[in-house]
Amino acid sequence: MTRDSPYDRVIRLSDRRRGSAGRSGSSACLPGGEVLQEALPVHAADASATALILASLSGARRPVLWVADRMSRRENGLLYTPGLRRLRPFGSILHVEVNHPRDVLWAMEEGAACGGLSAVVGEIHGAPSVLSFTATKRLALRAEASGVPVWLIRSADPAELSAARARWRVSARPSDAHPHDPGAPGGPVWEADLFRARARPPGRWKVHHDPSASEPADRLRMVSRSADGSLEGDRAERSDGTRT
């Protein structure tokens, strides 16, 4: 048993992810711990959810199945693979582009049962009736049976009921300072708000992405923005200082 929080909250050892020992709590809350997770982009046409998911999968070398329905392709744009080099240096992406959300769910279920994939990502725009609680429950059970991480990007969705094991609200934040040009956008920064989770406490994090880190697990740096006191923020900042 370790004390991980200023509020005497006891966190079980199994909740701590590998590699987090001896480091700040920031990497313990990386997305990807649960099997079925949802990302809800706050704004339209915001690539931050896509980028966060791909960055969290960056270490896996096997193919990723990416399924998108017609509306999300129109509203959010197509996945543009030349731009993913910084987020996900290895592994190819199998694109499945279908018209109806029903086919997205079917293809995701097929992919979730396939152990040869490193992840399955589905995109559904709006809140269609086929994306019900039962559908997400089926998906979660299928994913838990095989252990393949499954992500669902629900754009323009008012957080309908879902059986996802962790639900994130993701939005872009003003970027880091550019190293050479003060007027230019720098490294990407996102805000990840874990508002529902089964096995961990919810929270909000500011996520920095640093493609130059050698270890894929170190590329995402999460700084807590939870409203629960300054101690959390202090600790995160101190750990950043020691790491860099």
């Binding site: 193919p63 030349p82 694109h95 499945v96 079917w106 040869g116 550019h178 230019a184």
Partner: protein
Amino acid sequence: MQKDRTVPGHDVPVVLATDGTHGPVVHAASAAARARDVHIGARVADAQAIHPDLHVEPADPDGDAAMLDRLALWARRWCPWTARDGAEGIVLDTTGAAHLFGGEAALLRDMADRFAMQGLTARLAMAPTRGAAQAMARHGAAFGICAAGEVEKAIAPLPVGALRLDAETVRLLDRLGLRTVGALGAVPRTALMRRFAGLAADRNPLVLLDRATGRLPDPLNAPADRARRIVRTRLAEPVMDAAPHLAELAARLCTDLSEAGEGARLLRLTVYRIDGDCRSSDVATACASRDPDHLLRLLHGRLDRIDPGFGFDLLTLEALRVEPLDAGQPGLDGARDPDADVSALLDRLTARLGPDRVRWSAWRQSHVPERVERRVPALGAVPADPPDPARERPVRLLDPAEEVRVIYAVPEGPPARFVWRRVEFDVLRREGPERIAPEWWRDRPGTRLRDYYKVEVRDGRRFWIYREGLAQDGRGGAPRWFLHGAFA
């Protein structure tokens, strides 16, 4: 290059051209072209200068050979031994087959009719030996039939080139005054043997003459017929639903395939309906497979696309394309092969959604963003690593780019405020421009260049916007602004 696919009429002289040492030469000529004295081997430029209306098409020797091979297999409807003969012929061994068609003359007439039905003209001849038959077909009268003891007499008037000698030997015989096969046959054999002892058998005039007259054996080496992997189920009563019978069909087909050491790449399920019609559905696999459960799952997805009509009483399942597949040794730990899992997933997705919906990315050398990436059907392609672009590229790309309305423009650089999808955005930070010029070898004339900027708006979203064209570049009015993608 857009090819003109209209077929020219019979009166238009058409030639096929191949590359020669000094430019294209005539490879083959149509009857209308031959009537105008266009020779095989003449230069296309010369022929076009003489006949300006000459229609020239590129020749396709490989395609011709493949077509002849298929035609030779089709010709097994007349006799079991057929083979392609050189680049422009088919040879059939009709021993013991002619009486089935009412005699040799009737057999030749039947062949001529059936070739004509396919739109092909054929010169046909029949002789006791292969050499005599090919010589008569190419150089003798049409529909020549040579009886058993008359081979020498039949081929005597033909030129010596009819024996398939090479040009050098023909020229030598010509100098010796031996212009016909008959003249060659009249020369004492010892003299010919001495003179051409150094030549290989397939160029030696004496050997070829002996083969044509039957003194030397000249057997036909017919390629073996491709084994068909097909299983059938006959039903006592017509049924409407194929699903209960598929498991048995798939199991039998997989047994056949495993005995032959093969795996199926393309399957066809056909139902023969009681109204005499048949319906079929094809299923492809990403890698060779003979797993009955996997094939069954693929076929189940296709059943709703087969119209059973009033019922059917015969089902066939055929492996149209097979590949060698050795039996694999499963690991002792019971772990599944991840590559096999992925290819099985590809098969299932493709069978249900269609090959144009399940795709890998492929890349092209281009600077225009929407041209760099294209998608290729996942069946039959292998995934490749993406290129490493010199500049940062967005994660998502809008295709086509969407026009934005500029509210507050600045003279140099991106707009400070713009409207996209009815929302107003304030640009706080910007980077650029990156100029991408049109590719004149691909684009329409008048395509404008693009200046790309990465801009960050107030809430943190990072967009890729571009200005199309410059003011007063002579390619349209005022430049327009487009939003093309979103960065991470």
